[in-house]
């Protein structure tokens, strides 16, 4: 009985996230004329827009993040943990808030125009979207590249020097090839992010493919058409996911020696130190200072723009949606993580990788799938809070899964067997044998899901019951009408709510 609960739970978590997507694909295939529309030149242009944005953001992210990763990984600044946290902090600021801050700054009625009379052009189009997305996605590349730099074996670089390579040659032929796996992983995360981004690009009026799908769904009320249009997005995401699993060249990612690693020597910056600090300050200023500063200034402009009741309503909605999603995701991830560490065979492997595939798909498309499924097959769920919680939880299962699996992976299965021999059932044995580690893993995973679910927009936007709102949906609604003073309090409240989870996560990263 207990074993069946564990297995059933794992199957739900594994398959759940893909059910709505599978339904979406079925719907798209049954409406034949929708598929024909895919070939319209306009849709190809939009697809091109999306891919162009992916490209520019990846280039800009890498160009911004690599120097910062080197400075905070291999130079004399490497020990500045506070700086590392600041440079990484934009990772918790959702794209639509950055877009809101950028929009609120420029233009005829923007903050700069009001305060000092400057009329900067409002960021929009490809460059605006690139700027906005870069500002909050570069930390992925930064963190990944920095971790890889810290893990490099310095004797490889010495070997290359002794074989006649200059420092620049070493960087190009030894360091860069070894950074590539880390960079590729970060590029994938960012690429999928850009592919699925909906809030920022729609605020900045850059017509990407997701935006077209949204218009088809909300504007033209053409569900089958919207479903058909989402197929290429699904295809791209699945392709990226598959590429990441296939991995890079042979041998990359293995450590050469087995010995204890010697820390790499830290480069002295000398006269370049002020320049380096200036560069990092610029990054932090743009990534953290700009959004926070703009929001605070708008708040000061009109402190009464939003009533306390509206704010409380939004806060309550976020707490319910994100908190509920976090608990539900933990409950689903629990049996899945148990199977992943204690199960064998390809069935387990497939089951465990399915939620990760689901997480790689654009949330907007996943949301559409749930909406269709709710309307047609589960009318008793459609428009209910349960559907939103279920969708959020299944989408974020992988985030809760990681720390839980780590907790079990550190424990020998012998402990669990000992608990069984002492009279506990499978479920009790699994829980009791790993309890302290599990609590920590659950707190970490829960915090991560809470953080991401609170700031998440497309799923919440598409699946919220009537009259239900969160800080995220209220921020977006006000921002899309250019009501910046009304958006600012919601956005700031949201960031304040996300802050404790960020602190928790940074502390966890330090421990590992």
């Amino acid at each position: 009985m207990q074993a069946a609960v564990l297995r059933g739970g794992a199957a739900c978590a594994g398959l759940g996230a893909l059910v709505p997507v599978a339904y979406l694909v079925l719907r798209a295939l049954e409406g034949g004329e929708g598929l024909v529309q895919l070939l319209q030149p306009r849709h190809l242009t939009l697809l091109g827009n999306t891919l162009a944005l992916v490209g520019t953001v990846l280039v800009a992210d890498t160009a911004l993040a690599l120097p910062a990763a080197w400075l905070l990984g291999r130079s004399e600044l490497a020990r500045r943990r506070g700086l590392v946290a600041l440079v990484a902090a934009p990772v918790v600021i959702p794209g639509y808030i950055v877009a809101l801050a950028l929009l609120g700054l420029g233009g005829d009625y923007g903050l700069l125009a009001r305060l000092v009379g400057w009329r900067l052009p409002r960021p929009q189009g490809l460059w605006g979207a690139t700027l906005c997305l870069t500002l909050y996605t570069y930390p992925y590349v930064f963190l990944s590249a920095r971790a890889a730099l810290l893990g490099l074996d310095p004797s490889l670089e010495e070997a290359a020097r002794s074989l006649g390579l200059s420092p620049w040659g070493v960087a190009r032929r030894v360091v860069l090839p070894q950074l590539l796996p880390a960079l590729r992983a970060a590029w994938l995360v960012v690429g999928l992010y850009v592919l699925g981004d909906f809030g920022a690009v729609s605020l900045l009026r850059y017509e990407t493919y997701s935006y077209a799908v949204y218009l088809r769904y909300a504007g033209a009320l053409d569900r089958t058409g919207a479903a058909a249009l989402s197929l290429p997005l699904l295809g791209l995401a699945a392709l990226g996911w598959a590429a990441s699993r296939a991995g890079g060249g042979r041998g990359v990612g293995y450590r050469a020696g087995s010995g204890a690693s010697r820390p790499a020597p830290r480069a002295r910056l000398g006269w370049a130190r002020p320049l380096a600090l200036g560069y990092l300050a610029l990054l932090v200023g743009l990534g953290v200072g700009l959004p926070l500063g703009t929001l605070f200034l708008w708040l000061l402009q009109d402190p009464q723009a939003v009533g306390g009741r509206a704010l409380a309503h939004g806060l309550g909605g976020t707490a319910v949606a994100a908190g509920g999603a976090a608990l539900l995701a933990l409950a689903l991830a629990f049996p899945l993580a148990h199977r992943a560490t204690r199960g064998h065979g390809w069935g387990t492997a497939v089951l465990v990788s399915l939620p990760h595939l689901g997480h790689a798909l654009p949330p907007f498309v996943v949301g559409l799938g749930w909406a269709f499924l709710g309307l047609r097959a589960l009318p008793f769920l459609y428009g209910r809070l349960v559907l939103l919680l279920l969708a959020l939880a299944l989408y974020f299962v992988p985030l809760a899964f990681g720390p839980l699996r780590a907790a079990w992976a550190q424990l020998s299965p012998r402990l669990e067997e000992a608990a069984r021999s002492l009279g506990h059932g499978p479920l009790g044995a699994a829980v009791r044998s790993a309890l302290p580690g599990l609590v920590r893993g659950a707190v970490a995973g829960g915090a991560l899901v809470f953080l991401r679910a609170a700031t998440e927009l497309p799923l919440t936007f598409l699946l919220s019951p009537l009259g239900f709102s969160t800080l995220a949906t209220r921020t977006f609604a006000a921002a899309s009408e250019a009501l910046f003073a009304q958006a600012a309090p919601f956005a700031l409240a949201l960031l304040a709510l996300a802050l404790p989870s960020l602190v928790l996560l940074l502390r966890m990263e330090r421990e590992t």
Partner: protein, 341 residues
Amino acid sequence: MSFLSVQALRKRFGPVEAVREVSFAAEAGEILVLVGPSGCGKTTTLRLLAGFDRPDCGRVLVGGRDITPLPPERRGIGFVFQEYALFPHLSVEGNVAFGLRGLARAERRERVGELLAMLGIAELAPRFPHELSAGQQQRVALARALAPRPRLLLLDEPFSALDAALRRDLRAELRNFLKGLGLTAVHVTHDREEALALADVLAVMRAGRVEQVGPPEEVYNRPRTPFVAAFLGRANLWPGRVLAILNGRAEVEVAGQVLCAEAAGTAPGARGVVFFRPEWAEVGPGPFVAHVQTALFLGDHWELHASCQGLPVVLSAPCAPCAGVVPFAVTRALWLSGPEG
């Protein structure tokens, strides 16, 4: 002027003086072995030679030229790392070809093939480092370091990751190989047997200094300090006092007896240590009496752990002792001044 000349190197890491005063020299084609306990500064010395670290003072001359200010890539020195440091993203062929620049593709392939064949690992060319055993990785690391035809080869404990039997085989092979190439090499190890077997010149290091340099036989048989004596093999070190000097030999009062020891530069009345190896003593009629505590059978001989007048002594005997008390004579001894190591 020697081919390799290391002059008064010093290196400090913060408060730690890793290398205090290191000087030695090797002729072209010689293998110089730096040996010492861990933490004695031998690896740091090697890294100073390679240019990975800069000395605080002192010079390194190769072929009469001061290379101290040069960066590692311009020294023409090959380095074999303790853990091999093979590039994990390159195949064996790619690793060995790494230092071959400015050569045409065909020439490069030819040189790589030649090296791999020479080391008997031609069939490994397409493999990647993680697919190799430790012994194979070691050969690839050697091939990679040799590929650009360095003037000097540095080896940092290249056998430490291998098991004892393989280590013994490779020791002979490496010496044979280096001699065949006529290459000058500096080899670092903490294994005394490996050091004695490989060296043309042996330098024993302790706490950042070279205590003695010389041919291995001489250093083994005529150590200048108790530390060197004890580090290179079993040593009996007894405190004593010089009674008289005669033809470069000292009459020493030790363990209640008078013993004649080889001595250099000492005076009557001096206090110091009498040193003899177990094989320099003969169990049988003699002035000393040992109370045997343990007798160990080591295959070709017995090793007796005993005490003599309250002093510990290790003796070597061809057969098991028939009694708990055996007499013995010391046939050769050295007088070492200074404190006991």
